[in-house]
């Protein structure tokens, strides 16, 4: 039984990803520094700063066998103290502002911030709410923005690879 199930996963489920020229262009200024400092390895701490959890679903999907994020040297870590990259989602809520600032402060330099999703990019449908602060960039420095509601796993991977630079 178990052998059958393991065999089921040995089929080539992991896929090649389409190149995204727009992402490559956006990341040109970042990639040299990131590559020099970190090599082909990035530790990511995900921070939900007010998301509806749609972005989290697609970020979780990055770990499934189809996208298999770790093959690129990218892994999610539990603590910002272990992270090179903060992957931030949501229209930063007033209630999360302080937690986001502290998470950013706890992340050792050099560090990069990737704002993922339309809410993180520009506050999305919550732009007019007094309970939200605005985009992630209005609270902490942002290096790269990925749009989408939510961004697809392929777009998220393309953005993360952009941070690493071309192989």
């Amino acid at each position: 039984m178990r052998r059958t199930l393991l065999e089921g996963l040995r089929r080539p489920l992991t896929e090649m990803l389409p190149a995204d020229p727009e992402m490559a262009r956006l990341g040109l200024t970042l990639e040299r520094a990131a590559r020099r400092r970190l090599g082909r390895s990035l530790a990511i701490r995900e921070v939900d700063a007010g998301s509806c959890n749609g972005c989290e679903l697609e970020i979780i999907a990055l770990g499934n066998p189809c996208y298999d994020l770790e093959r690129f040297g990218l892994s999610f870590v539990a603590s910002p103290r272990h992270a090179d990259v903060l992957l931030v989602t949501g229209p930063v809520t007033r209630n999360m502002r302080e937690a986001l600032l502290r998470t950013y402060a706890a992340t050792p330099s050099p560090k990069w911030v990737l704002a993922a999703g339309d809410c993180a990019a520009g506050c999305g449908v919550f732009a007019a709410s007094p309970a939200c602060m605005g985009s992630v960039a209005s609270v902490i420095p942002v290096d790269l923005v990925v749009s989408g509601c939510p961004p697809t796993p392929a777009r998220l991977i393309a953005a993360l690879i952009t941070l690493l630079g071309p192989g």
Partner: protein
Amino acid sequence: MMAWREAGEALAAGRAGLVSLWADGPRARLALLLDDTVQIVDHPAPDGTFPSIGRLHPPAIRLERALAESSPLVPLGLPDTRRWLDHGENPTVYPFLPVKGRHLHQIPVGPVHAGIIEPGHFRFTCDGETVVRLEERLGYVHRGVEALMAGKVPAEAARIAARISGDATVAYAFAFARAVESVLGVAVPPRAIWLRALMAELERLANHLGDVGAICNDAAFGLLLAHCSVLREEVLRACAFAFRHRLMMGCVVPGGVAVDLSREGEARLRALAARVGAAFPPLLSLYDRTASLQDRTVGTGILRPELAALWAAGGFVGRASGRDFDARRFTPPYEALSFSVPVLEAGDVDARLRIRAAEISESLGLITQILDRLPVGPLLARVPAGAGEGFSLVESFRGDVFFHLRITEGLIVRAHARDPSWFQWPLLEAAIEGNIVADFPLCNKSFNCSYAGHDL
């Protein structure tokens, strides 16, 4: 019409279940479930006060805390008057409940806690490894959803409703649309009614597959996560192919649906149902035969049926603890479809996983039935401007979502949404008692409450 006090007593005595409690201008409003029917009970509060329901019936306490901080009304006798969703000017200060006792220590976790997960704070009080008490602090993803919906036309507010809890975007859009349609008397075309149910079942299928895998992963059995996450990915890709969005966000709108299902889309969904129907049973069988995995899930995080009943807990949380309720029984087109609602009594992590497994099989059956009998015709009815109030109760994958709307001249005056998590989060505090700290992720995942849906 039931009086306020009478409603409080019916709730406290277990004769009725609490659906929601909110403020609407100068009155407090209560929705309760009596003999499978939702009733709205009002308490006009010209002096700005009303008798607290939470005083008699604890499930109302957090709703009244949220009400008190977001409206001028004061619930008299509310046992807990701390802030809840709105953390105020200094969110880092919060008076946690005092804990006294020898050998106790506390573990504060969150709001940014391990994993790719929404923010919340968990304050564990432990004796050695055993959790003596858990106190939750939520509200971190409070986006002011209800205030934001006021003053908008239904089509615009639907975009916000679809983003209350992203994992239940179809159910929320469905509930919001049904509330709008009940207020404005919209007759939704039959094809749209059936497509909504199809999307709702696909959403349930995707989430349950993800949850079964994630629960096993939290018991250190990653193989089932790998298999289940591939199946989940296949569901999302089929949804993207059939409805042009992986999560089907924005597909259900007031008046009907925004996307039609093509013949190719239908074929893809049939193939998906066959594929998941063939692939899932061997996975469940693996779960059944792996004693080391069941050693973690059986008997862990038990929610007693009395508590599930008192809190009128919805979804797999309630159904794994003996509460036989599913809002689909009262939602078209389900009266024309054949499905059963699984109910178990054990109330542990294992029971919550098995309810999901049984519901996966029911959803696959529903998807096939819907595809076989999908009516042809228009997708969208016109939504007229009008006035009135109305509500809806729609079964999301995690339980019943309640929406209440008051509309004047085609604009929303007051929107109130109640996620099933409101009555599940507090039960997680009860279920974890006496378990070890290391089993908290497992218990939490088996509940899978929504932070965003609760925090609004």
